[in-house]
């Protein structure tokens, strides 16, 4: 009996580092090593480990349709065993990603898969990721919708996609909305508003932050908001990195705009 307890303890002690090693390898783009770590021993009832095995197999070289199908089957099994715990939420998200990016799928299936992630746990960080991806589908993969409807549908996802729990992701979601509007030549107050929301979140990356200020200045200028544009130009000039080659161009555009009103 003592021996069995000792063995169980040893396995338990051993399992945690193996799992950590697997996640470390996975986070470091070492997919094969991660898969080896996760599958060194049978996952058994360890659902996180089963998730790790599936997530690493997805990109284990050589990537093949057969492997992707295996991963889908493993993820569906995880969901079938328990549809509500953390591994299940992640499995649902990965299934949506597989439909979107790893194998051919109809747009309706992709949309439904992302919506399933959001519906299952709307406050979860993965729901925020899924909402951001769904916004992209609506913006660029729904040619059946008129352009204003594409943008409106993507913007409706703001309560989830713009959640404060992942501020960097939220910032880019708002920026993606604004840039889609600019791509479709729909430069209007909404685009300015989305850029303002992205700026309010405050991205950590210095180049994203400074580019946002230029975008704000240029869009405000195009909409005739002279004072706001000047303010954004000033804000950019005060924070630009020394390696930013746009500095002089911005300074001159600001000076030109300031002169225009005189």
């Amino acid at each position: 009996m003592k021996g069995i307890i000792a063995l169980g303890f040893a396995v338990g002690v051993h399992a945690a580092p193996v799992a950590d090693e697997g996640w470390q390898e996975l986070a470091g783009y070492l997919f094969r090593d991660a898969h080896d770590a996760f599958t060194r021993e049978p996952a058994g009832a360890d659902r996180r480990r089963a998730l790790g095995a599936a997530a690493s197999l997805l990109n284990e070289p050589p990537v093949s349709p057969g492997k992707v199908a295996d991963v889908e089957a493993q993820l569906r099994q995880l969901l079938a065993d328990n549809a509500a715990d953390e591994p299940a939420i992640y499995a649902r998200y990965l299934l949506a990603r597989i439909a979107h990016l790893h194998r051919p799928a109809e747009t309706a299936e992709i949309e439904a898969a992302y919506r399933a992630v959001i519906t299952a746990a709307p406050a979860h960080p993965l729901a925020q990721l899924a909402a951001g991806k769904l916004a992209l589908v609506l913006l660029y993969q729904r040619p059946d919708l008129p352009v204003p409807a594409r943008i409106a549908a993507a913007a409706e996802l703001a309560p989830v996609a713009g959640s404060a729990q992942l501020p960097e992701t939220a910032c880019i979601y708002y920026r993606v909305l604004a840039e889609a509007a600019l791509y479709y030549d729909m430069l209007d107050e909404r685009a300015l508003g989305w850029l303002q929301r992205a700026d309010a979140v405050g991205p950590q990356d210095v180049m994203t932050a400074t580019s946002l200020r230029i975008q704000l200045a240029e869009v405000a200028r195009a909409l005739g908001h002279r004072e706001a544009a000047l303010g954004y130009y000033r804000s950019y000039l005060a924070t630009a990195a020394p390696t930013d080659s746009r500095y002089h161009t911005v300074a001159e555009r600001m000076a030109d705009l300031a002169k225009e009103a005189k």
Binding site: Y29, F31, A55, P167, Q215, R246, E252
Partner: protein
């Protein structure tokens, strides 16, 4: 007893001699670590075999060894042609040196992740070798760099996918026109570099006339496809800066490659767009002064023409400066290719002015390999190498530009200093893809010689460019799909590692944001290709 034939004796003697020589080399070779296990050996490898660089590295290594007698620092300079295979073999075999020069095009993310140690945490600590510098001692190692190693796309020291620093850079280079001061003096009566593009073309004409009069075969410009594109890149871009601003979809005053391609597919610019045609015409203006057969020559040929006094000017990177200055038997000057004026009647309509070189990033970064036997010692040497004192020494000996705050630019390198007060770039048709580059190289000859013609170039290349640009948009979408797929797995790993300590602003959040940006760009490209299928 029969004596062995003479040839056998000779062969035997040769074999014995070779054996003794090899054995002697082995015994006498520098390598105290072999006999003294207390010696730490740090090896660092790079491909910068230009004159001056190896010497600079050697002197700094000698300084370090004088400071740390129990350390031996060995430099390994590997020619560029052998670098890729040499490095891969070393990394896979576990025999790579401790420190290796990095370049984003040589070291993909999977290679960095597998074989190199991130040095972000080291860079955020002060560099102890700057402890005597009052203005640097309170700064982190990263902040001791002139531009503080801004982590942007395309730099060699940071991976935007792995979100980690992998290299500590040592130097910076720009592109300049080197010139034979004596020939220029003879041709125009004064040693003065041109200040405008018109003056540059006039200088080429004067040099040509001087050669005709003196019957000396001296070309105004040293030619090779490499050196000529060092000139044309700037001209294409400067002639079309205002157009680039109209093609900047995101309104961030920087037309990206994808934005340029998307707007090409949407029919918003083409080779016949006046600004693009003007860029080609600028090349037409100086192309007539290129030496015959220039497009068949390579960099080394052009360098030889210049060093032998058979060409008066040579456009190249300042990485060649050490070699030029040490080998030329004539006085050498250098200047930045002059820009067009906005009021230039021929070329100025779509220009903003000289292009900014503010984004010239620090290069020659060394990364720490995971197989290093002395990683802390290797990092210590790297800190020493990039301390203010060592960087000043490196810059002085190599003539390459320094990268550490407060290091003076050597007098000889003053004209290499990046010009920061300039404008954003324009549309450079060569930069859009590898295939577009090949089209330019294949047909650039049409812009040279007495029959130079921008229209002929456009007529010949319209079809190839059309295929190249649309093909590149499709290729980029396919390539980014692979990296996006990989990030799905990587994010799963980061999520599990970081969920306990908070995901907001953590790597998971930052990589998810990066993935969203890249995915948006990819889908926008695919939308464009679908909506604008072309001919």
């Amino acid at each position: 007893m029969k004596r062995p034939p003479l040839t056998t004796v000779v062969v035997l003697l040769l074999l014995i001699g070779t054996y003794l020589y090899s054995a002697g080399r082995l015994v006498l070779r520098r390598g105290p670590a072999v006999v003294d296990p207390s010696i730490e050996v740090i090896r660092y490898a790079h491909w910068q075999i230009e004159p001056g660089v190896r010497e600079a590295f050697n002197e700094i290594a000698a300084d370090y060894m004088a400071l740390h007698p129990k350390v031996r620092v060995e430099q390994m300079d590997i020619p560029g042609r052998a670098w890729k295979q040499w490095l891969r073999t070393g990394l896979i075999g576990g025999t790579a040196p401790d420190l290796v020069e990095l370049a984003s095009y040589e070291n993909p993310d999977d290679m960095l992740a597998r074989y190199f140690t991130p040095i972000t945490s080291y860079l955020e600590q002060p560099n102890p070798y700057n402890a005597d510098e009052p203005d640097l001692r309170g700064l982190s190692w990263r902040q001791s760099y002139t531009a503080e190693l801004v982590p942007v796309e395309g730099v060699h020291y940071f991976s935007t996918n792995l979100l980690e620093y992998y290299g500590a850079p040592s130097a910076m280079v720009t592109v300049r026109m080197f010139y034979n001061r004596r020939l220029i003096q003879e041709a125009i009566g004064e040693d003065r570099p041109p200040r405008t593009y018109d003056e540059f073309v006039a200088l080429c004409a004067a040099l040509q006339r001087h050669a005709d009069v003196t019957h000396e075969f001296v070309a105004p410009l040293a030619g090779s496809w490499f050196n000529v594109t060092q000139i044309t890149d700037g001209l294409f871009s400067a002639a079309s800066q205002r157009v680039a601003l109209t093609l900047d979809i995101s309104h961030d005053l920087e037309m990206s490659k994808v934005e340029g391609l998307v707007n090409y597919a949407r029919g918003r610019w083409s080779l016949t767009t006046p600004a693009i045609r003007t860029g080609l015409q600028t090349v037409e203006a100086f192309g007539r002064y290129l030496p015959p057969g220039w497009s068949q020559l390579n960099r080394e040929d052009a360098m030889m023409q210049f060093l032998q006094g058979r060409a008066a000017m040579l456009a190249t990177g300042t990485w060649d400066a050490g070699g030029i200055l040490s080998q030329a038997d004539f006085p050498v000057g250098a200047f930045k290719m002059p820009a067009f004026r906005r009021d230039d009647p021929k070329y100025g309509r779509w220009t903003l002015g000289p292009m900014s070189e503010a984004n010239t990033f620090a290069g020659v970064p060394f990364g720490l390999t995971r197989t290093s036997r002395h990683p802390e010692r290797a990092i210590d040497f790297l800190r020493f190498l990039t301390s203010r004192k060592s960087n000043a020494k490196f810059s002085r000996i190599s003539t390459w530009l320094p990268v550490i705050k407060g290091v003076p630019v050597p007098k000889v390198s003053e004209s290499f200093r990046p010009v920061e007060e300039g404008y954003v770039g324009g549309v450079n048709i060569r930069f859009f893809s590898g295939e577009a580059n090949q089209v330019v190289l294949q047909y650039l000859y049409l812009l040279s010689g007495n029959a130079a013609s921008a229209d002929a170039f456009i007529a010949q290349t319209r079809g190839p460019f059309d295929r190249a640009f649309r093909g590149e948009l499709d290729r980029l979408a396919r390539v980014s799909r692979e990296t996006l797929r990989q990030k799905d797995s990587v994010l799963a790993g980061l999520y599990q590692l970081e969920v306990g300590t908070g995901l907001g602003r953590a790597k998971f959040d930052r990589l998810a944001a990066n993935q969203l940006t890249v995915e948006a760009e990819r889908l926008r490209s695919l939308r464009t290709l679908a909506d604008y299928p072309g001919k």
